[in-house]
Every structure is written in structure tokens, then in C-alpha cells.
Amino acid sequence: MKRYSLTIIGLLLLALAIGFGPALASSAPAPASQASTLHPNFILLDADGANVLESGSAVSTMQTCGQCHDTDFIASHAFHSDLGLADYAASKESWDASTGTFGQWNPLTYRYLSQDGDERLDLSTAEWLMLNGERVVGGGPATTSRNDAPLADVKVSRENPETSILKNGSPTTWNWDKSGTMEMNCFLCHLETPNTEARAEAIHAGEFGNANTATLIGLNVVNKSSEGWVWNPESFNENGELKSEFIGIQDPTNANCATCHGEVHPETEEPLTLNACDLDYPQTATTGQVVSGQRINESGVNLTDKNNIERSWDIHAERQLQCTDCHYALNNPAHASELQSNNPEHLVYDPRSLEIGEYLERPDHNFARGESAQFNVAPEYKGTMRRCENCHDASKGHANWLPYIGTHMDAVACETCHIPQMYAPAIQTYDWTVITTSGTAVETCRGVDGDPNAVTSLVTGYEPVLLNRTNIDGDTLLAPYNLITSFYWVYDDANGNKRPVRLVDLEAAYLEDGKYAADIAAAFDSNGDGKLASNELTLDSAAKTDVVKTKLAALGLNNLRIEGVVQPYSINHNVTRGDSAINDCKACHNENSRMSQPIKLTDSAPVLPIFDAANNVNNSGEFVTDADGALYYQPMPAEDNLYVFGSSRVNWVDWFGAIAFAGSLLGVIGHGTLRYLSSQKQPKGQKRTERIYMYDTYRRFWHWLQTSSIVILLFTGLIIHRPDIFGAFSFRGVVTVHNVVAVILVINAALSLFYHITTDRIREFIPHPYGFFDDAIVQARYYIGGIFKGEAHPFEKLPTSRMNPIQKMTYFMILNVLLPLQTITGALMWSVQKRPEFANALGGLPFLAPFHSLVAWMFGTFILVHVYMTTTGATPLEAMRGMVTGYEEVEVHESKDE
């Protein structure tokens, strides 16, 4: 039967494919490409395999869809269905029993799925389903016990969290036979308009067996009466099959995914409005991501400066991509090329993939997924999805303007620049240490002034914080995140296990008849107005904490304490094109770099939270408290081995350099002043001088070209180092000037080296060891003594021997140590964009860049002293004049006069 239907589908598809071929060629209008027309009519079966039209029972999706599709395969290959059940295992180390929603505690939804043997029942399986079932597709924990038996077969006991439920504070039994269980609901994702409201109603009422049928209410197929389900014979054909026009079966659309994941707005004309910070729209609530192609300025969100935000909410939605284009079924033959990524290198394409019919029989419902921080179910599938680079070649798109493309791409995720700003509010804190009278946490939202869902609130949006994450493949990249901080009470139960304090216990402590208990109100109402405002609803004093703690302890809870956790939530949607992306170098290469922007965590923290470690985000930043007690998270790029020009700097290098420079400046000023004072006392015109052709043309040319280069390099280098001080300059332009002039300097140095070697003048620079120190001491004594007395220079300046011993030593150091070091470190830093391995072998930018700065400081100091020294000639400006014209008046030494 299965095989037969399959052949029909196959043939149908083939016929369609053939049919479309000529249609394309002749450009004749093709039949309307409705997804529903592809799907044949089918019989709706109940759980016993009987046509619902006859039995009047609820529909069974596993039976119905199982007529053609291998529903067992589908249900067992679907992490959306499994939700962590498969790896559910209680452990002593952690209160999390799995990696999925079923078993992993979420501080936002708070309620804890109790483990077998827990002292106090919080969420039983049934209540977990009632609470979360709206966003549970069915199957997995909705049909199966933690021991892999059907839920209905589990022995009913009040003690077992799988067969009980909390009622008025104490556990009673839950009857799965009566409630039914919830099969994986194919309709939820494959119908154009599933009735999610009716479904949610059934789930909240605990009628799990009816949930899937309720999804069809309103399609003229089925209605509910007091007796049960009433199937509408009109919508079935003579074979008892449901007519396809009543039930459009289709590939999941963005709207289908939105049912559980967050705000999606496919309409073009109707302005977008959204539910903010509402966990029924988790992706939007936790990050502010909204999937819509609408221009932001055309949406209905009350955003600051909205008129000027021309970009769409999400470029991929604007360009008609569907969620399933990136998050596809892993064995979908349309995405065969991705599946072949582990082919041997010589094999570009492997034609062996599933036929469409085989795929339709057994579509893998494990969907390609990313590596977001908070969704850890089925970790083996992390990193399977199409990411940016699977579609886009960044090296081409950025080729015309972005320097150091490779360096940027190695360090920064595409999202960092292409999701520069979130335009919807997102949750900032969830404080469960206090509760509202309706039993919810005290919540704050970032990116909005006031109530996030009031139309009058001004939405400001927020800048995501950039954190370094480690991908499956080992790459580390800076990527944008929202950080949500939660605080909550925990206790140790009778088994010695740490558990979050149950909501019922919190309510018992805080509330009496739906109002705050008198002692709570007294302790919290600091302004005495009889009401607890949101700023009073916080445990900001030991007295308040003690009141609550005492009340909780009175409920029998041991070792009560407050814990806090900061959880990163990945932001990967709401991408924008280059125009609106971060494309100003100074956004990062500046004092207030995006990369080190702190993000506010909470106005007041009852305890210092810990950074959630159960994800791929490196906790390399630090917690910072400001003067008002608000807590921030400060990313530290340096801790992630990142050196960001213009932002990163090693303080001691700058201090050391600045002190050396300032010291030299002081020395020079002091020496100069003394010289001036002493020269006033000296008789004039005492020394005989002579005009000598001291510097030949090439020497002068070489010298001044090098001078210009070094001055320009020092200046541009300073700008690159501290762009915040020199805001007028374009960072990119300055980097270019620095690089070009550096090349000029190196060429000039090389040519002059050649000149000096070939003309043998290199000797002038080489200190002769014999008597060198004696001569140097003589020269030094001249500078500290003789020069003030008007004595003659101890060594004669001649065209063949222009340098005194100290000069020789200085130049020897400069030319053999400083210049090569600066050239090599500079070249390595430049080469990072092409061959980073060389630079990385020598410590990478975090070492090379500060070193380059240090040598630059020394060059600056040298120039200062060098310029001063030139004033010690016959007259202060004589040496400089000599370097310009070539002729210099030098002292004539008597001994050589003869």
C-alpha cells in the first residue's frame, strides 16, 4: 500500500516536472503553483486506523500521514519532537537532565521539570506539557516516558512526576488514558492555516489527545460538539478522502515556524507590530529578532528616528528566503551539495543522493541548525545549517573597500557588522527572587522606555554585545549577543540536590489571597505608599532578603540562597546589507570600540551572577559595577587574543615611551638652557670656522626623504594608535598613507645601504672598537662640560669623518636595531591580511603591535635628541643648513691647520 502510494506521488511529481518543462519554454502561464495541489487527497485515520468519517474519533497524524510517509522514521528523526527526551538522564552534578527543553532548566520559564524522587514536585510531565505544549510539536515527551515506554503504560503513582500533577500545592495522579497523549503534529507545520489557538486551548486544558484534531477546527473539516468530534462529510470525497482544497498541505512557511519561534511578519502593506519581551515569542523576546521583509520605517513600531531607518527588518526575509532555505531537512536532495561536504577532495559532485520519492517517504526532520548559545538539543547537529559563507563569498563582496579582509573574516562573524543594531526590545533581566502578584518574575527589557508592549512606549532598540564564540570547527569569532541576567532562589532538597525554589513556594512566601503578604509589603514598601512599585520589588537590602528567606525557610526549604546567571542569546537574524551594516572603520578601531562596548545587565544585583558556561561563548569579559550600582558586562578583546588597532593598547608601552620621550625633552630643554646661559658669558667670535662641502647631494636627499618618511610614519602611526584623539582623519586613509610611506622608507633605506656599502662610506657608521670608549667618554664629557665653556668639539667634523663616537654608537643602534625591528614588525603586521601564519608564529598582533608602538616611541625620542644635537654645531642652525645646502661652517682645529 505504502509503496503503491509512493509510486503515485513519484509519477505525479514526474508528470508535473515534465509538464512544467514545455510551459517554461513557451512562456505560457503555468498552472498556479499552489503547494497544496501537489499533495493528493488522503483519508484521515484515527488511532485505530479507521476513517474518522466513520469512527468520529480524533485524527491520528501518525496513522494518517503514515499511509504514505514513514511517520515512525520522521518522529524518531526530529529534535523538534524529541526535545531532549532521548538523552534524558538525571545527574548529581547538574539539575539539568537533558540538553533540550524537556529536562534543561530555563531560568526565564523558571518552572523545573521534576526528576523522579525529587522531594517536592514542581512540574510533572503533564503540567510541563500544559505549560509549554503550545510550542511542543508532539511526539517525544508528549507521548513517551523517560524510560521509553508509552506514557499511558507507566504505572500511575502520585510519587512519579510522569503520572502526577501539582494541584493546590500537593501532587495528585494524572491519568494519561483520559487525557490522551499528543502525537507529532504534522498539521502544525504543514498546513497553511493551522488553528493554533484551538490547539493551545486543548493543550492548556490537558486534553492532549484532542490537540492535533483541534488544529483542523475552522477549516470546515471538523468541529467539536459535546459528544466529541463531528467530521464534515462535505469536505470528503466519495472515497472518504479529505479533499485537498480544504486542507492545503505545504512546505513549512516562515509563518509556520513563527508559531513557536517568534515574530514573523510576511505582509507587505500592513505595518508590522510586535509582541515584545513575551516568551510566547521566544526568539523575539530574548533577542529582539523579527523576521520581516518590511522596511523598518514602514512598520508600526514606535522607534526612535524611525523615518530614517530605510533598511528592512531582515534582508533575507525581504529577499523571500524561507526559514527552511537554511534550516532544511538534512536529507533533502535539493540540498545534496551540502550533504557532500565530506566528499574526498577530488570529488566535486556526487550524483548519488536520495530520489525525491525516497525523500518524501522518509524526510529527515532533524533540521540543519546553527550553533546558537541557548539551544543545545541534539548537539550533534550543531553547525549543519547553511551559514552566511555557504551562500556569500565575503572576499568578493568586500573586495572594493575593506582592507585586511582575511583578518577581519577570521576574527569577526558576518553578523557582527551586518546586524549592527536591534530594533525591537529584548529581555534584560528576569528576577525570580521576587514575584509579582500574578506569580511572574520581575522583568526588565532593554531597548524600550517603559512597558515594551504599550503603543506609547518609545522603542530605542539596542546594540548587541560582541562576544567571542568557539565554533564546532574550532574557529573563534566575535559575534553579537543579547545578555539576559536571571536571579532566583535555590535550596537543597532532602536528597541533597540543588533545586530552584518552586513557584508555589514563592507564592506561599510572598502572597496571601493574591496580594502581597503583610510582612512582605511592610518590608518592601520603602516609600510607604501601600503599593510595591517595580523599583521596590527587588532584593536590594539584607533586611528584605532576610524577610523572604525566613518565610521560605518556614516552608521547609534548606540552605536557601540566591543565584544569578547571565545567559548569552545569539543574534543571527535581522541581517542588513552593506549600506546599513557597520562599515566605518572607527566603529571598532577607536577608543569606544564596538568590540569592547559594555552591555548593561541589571540596575541592581542581589548577588553577583555567574556567566553561563554551558555554551560556546567565551566568558572573557568581566563584570563591572557603575556608581549607581548597575551591573555591566565588559567584553575584553585582549583576553580573546585580539588586538584591535585604535582600540587595543598596552598601557605600559605607552607610559614607558611617553616617559622616555618626555625625559629626553626635559633633558634637551635643560641642556639647551644651560648652553644658552653659558654662551652669554663667553666672548664672541672666538672660534675659527671654515666652510666645508660636508654632505654630497645623494646624502642630503637620502637624509631628508628618510626624515619626511619617519615624521609621517610617526604621525600616522599615532593616529592609528589613538584615532579618538585625531577624529578629523579617515582611519582607512591614514592606514594607507602609513603603509605606503613605510614602503618608501624601506626602499630608501635599502638604496642608501647599497650606496654606503659601495662607496665604502659605511665605515663612518661603524664604531672602531679600538679606543672607542675613551673617545666616547671624551665626547660625553664635552657635552656635559666643555660645551658650556665654549670649548672646541673634541673630534673634528670632516666630510670623511662626520660623526663623533657617540653619534656612531647611536646610529649603529638605530640602523641595526630599531630600523630593522620596526621594519620587520611593521611588515608582519601588514602581512597579517595575506599570510597571518608568519605574524602568528611571532606572537600575532597582540605582541607585534605593542612592540611596534614601543619602537615608534624610541624613534620619536631619537628624533628629538637628534634634532637638538644638530644645534651644537658652530652656530645652532649651522648643521641643519649644512644638511640642506651641503656646505657647513665647521670649527677649524689648530692641529689640522698646518
Binding site: 510551459a23 512562456s27 510576511p266 507587505t268 647631494t697 626623504l705 605606503v740 645646502t885
Partner: protein
């Protein structure tokens, strides 16, 4: 000499060059984009005629005579234009044996239908005087050219019956006020064509007298462009042709965005791939009649009802029922700049119940055609049941339909004028007329984006345009 330029200055120059040349060569440059404003015509400052024009003018012709004293060729130049002749050059059309001409003078539209026999009122928008002399005599005399219609300050000038100045107009003041034409001069006829503000075009109406930048990025805001900034004019030949009054149009005679937007590509290469198939107007004019409503249907069959209250936007006894719409999505068609068909008086009615007054030419196979936005105006017009052609009634004048409300006599009256026989039996039939939408270009941030056309909620009817499906999935035309 030597002292003035010491040799070291040469070295200095060398050093400066050695550094500057490579730096400038490598310095990142912003990609220069052609500034469209550079292509705007430069206009001479108009000489104030206040002290030049004097005398006493009793008739329009006397003013023209004064103008021609200095501007000797102005009238003869102008008389070659369709603004004067109200008739196109002859076209060879495949459905007629002889060449035909198209224009206000001899053909019909689907608003007030036709001017023949109705010249007394219609010529209030003709840039000439003296139509009471009859068409031939009027057209022959250069002194009938109405210089003031386009050059006077309209605060001091207005036209009336047979194109003559309205009674009480101070012609001297009007003549002294002359200057280059403004949006007001052009707008007087082109904004109010069809009998009122915004009736005909949908992209031209009185909101353009004082437009904001968001209404029209060219005429509004800082640019404040005048009609002649795009409709380049030389020797009174104004660039630009109306598709409704022509059969084919030489692209040389047409205004185009590329006149000023030369080599100006979008930054997004995806958009540029659209340029071969999508006209600029399609994305940059997302909606028409933004501020003032325009007429989209006109049902003549309801005219003449006794006792029904008149309302400018829904019903007038003399004209029938209308629907006006505002800020609506245009109709999109393939368009290569020509008409596939233009109704010529005497042509049979359309076969499928719709008679096209004009039908833009182009289809998906036509590589010169692009998808283009149109305002579609649908009318119900009278036709001769026996002869199976549209009828042009005489509406104005003391015996016209607007006075007598008798269709039969209105058609009878027209017989000698149009030369078309009337069988005595009339009915009403649907007529379609397409108006190309090219004005009210909105700022770039209001332009259509991908999802406006593509995807489930897109505005394009891909099947009607000849695509097998949304080209974002099925691919564009080859």
C-alpha cells in the same frame, strides 16, 4: 637666478613628489557617482519684460503681435508643435488602409470623449486664440498663437471660450509678466486635464504646485525642478510625447530618467539585474495619486439622471458616475514605449466586450519592453449599436448633451462634424485607456523592495505578465 632657486629646492620637490605620488595613488577613493544635477539644462535668467512691453491690448492677437516684433520666429516654431496642432504626425497603422493622425483635434479619449464640435470649451486648454474662426482659419494665423498661456504669470491671465483670454483679463499686465514657463503654466492644462484636478493622469495633479519631497523627489524639496528641467525645450519643441495621443514614439522624442541619471547604477547589484526588464518608474513610483485622488472609472451611461444630486467625486448629471481613487497601486504591463493599438474614430468595438482606447505595446518576448506602471482608466462610453463603433457626442454648446441631456440629438449633431454616420441606436460599452505613470517619483527610501513584488504577498501578477511563476524562483526572462 641661482639665488632665487637654490639647488636644494629641487631635492625638496623630489622628496615631496616621491612621497605624494604613491600615497595619492593608493589612497582609498570614494567611488565617484555621476551627479544627475549636472545634466540639468542651464537656463538664462529671464529678462524682466515689465519695462519692455507697453501699449494697450484689446485682444490676445494684439499681444502676440507685440511679442513677434522681437521674437520673430516664435510663432512659426510653435505652430509646428502638437501643442498647437493638437494632432500627431501621420502613422501607418496595420488595421487601417490609410495613414491616420491622433490628437485632441480628431480622436477620442475615454474622459470627455472628444473635442470635435465641443471646441468652444475644450480649446480653453489650447495654446491659441480664435477657434471661433473655425479650425482651418485658426490654425493658419500666427497671431493666434497664445504666448501668454505658457509665459504669463497665471495670477494675471486666464483663458476661456475658443481659447480666447477670459473676460476682464488685463492683457497688458499679463504681457508684462511673461517669463520662462513654470509648473503652474504647464499644470494649468496638464494637472486639470479631463475637466478637473487630477482627473486624467494620476501622476500629475495640483498637488505638484507645492510638492513636498516625499510626493515628488524632483519637483519637491530642494530640487524644486520645473517641467522644462526634464522636458528639455528648444525652439518651442518640447521633449516628451504622450502615449495616449500617439501610436509609436521615437525614443529620441521621449523624456527618460537616463537623461540625467547617466551611468548611475544601484549599489546593490541585484537591483541592477532588474534594469533590463523593469522600468525605473516601476520601483520608484510605488503608488499613484498620492495626495489628490484621480478618476479611475467614468460611467457615461448614468449621465442625465433627473433629480440625482451632483457630487464632484461620485456623480455629475452632465457626465455620469465616477470613482476616484487615491494612493493606489498602479497596473503593471510590459511596455516598449509604443502603443500596440490606438482607437481611431470608426474602428469597430473590441471583441471581448472591452474596447481599448489605447493598449501599450510589449510583452515578455519583447526585449525592448520593460514592466511599467500604468494608471488604467475604465469608462463606459456610448457606441453605435448597428455600426459597432464608438460615438463622439456633441456635449457643449446650447444644443449639446450637457444642455439637452438628449443623447440622440448629441450624436446627430456630431455626424457632419466627425463624418461618422449615426444609426439612431446607441448603447454603452466598456473602454480601457492606459496612462503611463512617470511623475511623482518618490525618494529612494520609498522605492519598492524585493518583497513588494516577489513572494506570496507581492503586487505583480506574474502569470498575466507571462512568467511561469515568480521569477525569484522560476528565473527571469531569457
Amino acid at each position: 637666478m641661482k639665488n632665487r632657486f637654490p639647488s636644494w629646492t629641487l631635492g625638496l620637490l623630489g622628496i615631496i613628489l616621491l612621497i605624494l605620488v604613491p600615497v595619492i595613488y593608493y589612497l582609498p577613493r570614494a567611488q565617484s557617482r555621476n551627479d544627475p544635477a549636472a545634466y540639468l539644462p542651464t537656463k538664462a535668467v529671464h529678462v524682466d519684460h515689465k519695462d519692455i512691453v507697453n501699449g494697450e491690448f484689446k485682444t490676445g492677437q494684439e499681444v502676440t503681435r507685440a511679442c513677434l516684433e522681437c521674437h520673430e520666429d516664435a510663432a512659426t516654431e510653435f505652430m509646428k508643435t502638437t501643442h498647437w496642432t493638437w494632432e500627431s504626425k501621420p502613422f501607418d497603422v496595420p488595421w487601417r488602409d490609410e495613414d491616420v493622425t491622433i490628437g485632441k483635434a480628431n480622436q477620442i479619449n475615454n474622459f470627455c470623449i472628444g473635442s470635435q464640435g465641443n471646441e468652444v470649451t475644450c480649446t480653453a486648454c489650447h495654446a491659441g486664440y480664435g477657434w471661433e474662426q473655425g479650425r482651418e482659419a485658426q490654425q493658419a494665423n500666427p497671431e493666434n498663437v497664445d504666448c501668454l498661456a505658457c509665459h504669463a504669470d497665471l495670477g494675471s491671465y486666464t483663458k476661456s471660450k475658443y481659447g480666447n483670454p477670459a473676460e476682464g483679463v488685463d492683457l497688458l499686465a499679463a504681457a508684462q509678466s511673461v517669463r520662462a514657463p513654470t509648473r503652474e503654466n504647464c499644470g494649468k492644462c496638464h494637472f486639470d486635464g479631463g475637466g478637473g484636478n487630477g482627473v486624467k493622469h494620476g501622476d500629475l495633479d495640483e498637488s505638484l504646485y507645492f510638492p513636498g519631497e516625499s510626493l515628488d523627489v524632483h519637483m519637491g524639496g530642494e530640487a524644486n525642478m520645473q517641467c522644462t528641467d526634464c522636458h528639455w525645450t528648444e525652439n518651442h519643441q518640447i521633449l516628451g510625447r504622450m502615449i495616449a495621443d500617439n501610436y509609436t514614439i521615437d525614443p529620441e522624442e521621449q523624456v527618460s530618467c537616463e537623461q540625467c541619471h547617466v551611468d548611475q547604477q544601484h549599489k546593490d547589484e541585484r537591483i541592477n539585474t532588474h534594469l533590463a526588464s523593469v522600468a525605473c518608474q516601476t520601483c520608484h513610483i510605488p503608488a499613484i495619486a498620492l495626495e489628490d485622488p484621480t478618476k479611475v472609472t467614468w460611467d457615461w451611461s448614468q449621465a442625465g439622471q433627473e433629480g440625482r444630486e451632483d457630487d464632484h467625486f461620485t456623480y455629475l448629471k452632465i457626465k455620469g458616475e465616477f470613482v476616484y481613487e487615491k494612493n493606489f497601486t498602479p497596473t503593471y504591463l510590459w511596455f516598449n514605449g509604443n502603443n500596440e493599438y490606438r482607437y481611431i474614430l470608426g474602428d469597430p468595438l473590441g471583441k471581448d466586450g472591452i474596447t481599448y482606447i489605447n493598449k501599450p505595446a510589449g510583452n515578455i518576448e519583447d526585449v525592448t519592453a520593460k514592466i511599467f506602471p500604468f494608471k488604467l482608466h475604465i469608462a463606459k462610453q456610448p457606441y453605435d449599436v448597428k455600426n459597432n463603433y464608438l460615438l463622439q457626442p456633441v456635449t457643449s454648446g446650447k444644443d449639446g448633451f450637457w444642455t439637452t441631456f438628449d443623447w440622440n440629438s448629441a450624436f446627430e449633431l456630431a455626424v457632419p462634424i466627425t463624418g461618422l454616420a449615426y444609426s439612431g441606436e446607441y448603447g454603452f460599452t466598456e473602454t480601457y485607456m492606459y496612462w503611463a505613470t512617470t511623475h511623482m517619483v518618490q525618494p529612494a527610501d520609498k522605492a519598492l523592495q524585493c518583497e513588494s513584488c516577489h513572494g506570496e504577498n507581492g503586487r505583480m501578477d506574474w502569470a498575466a505578465l507571462g512568467y511561469p511563476g515568480d521569477p525569484i524562483e522560476w528565473g527571469g526572462r531569457k
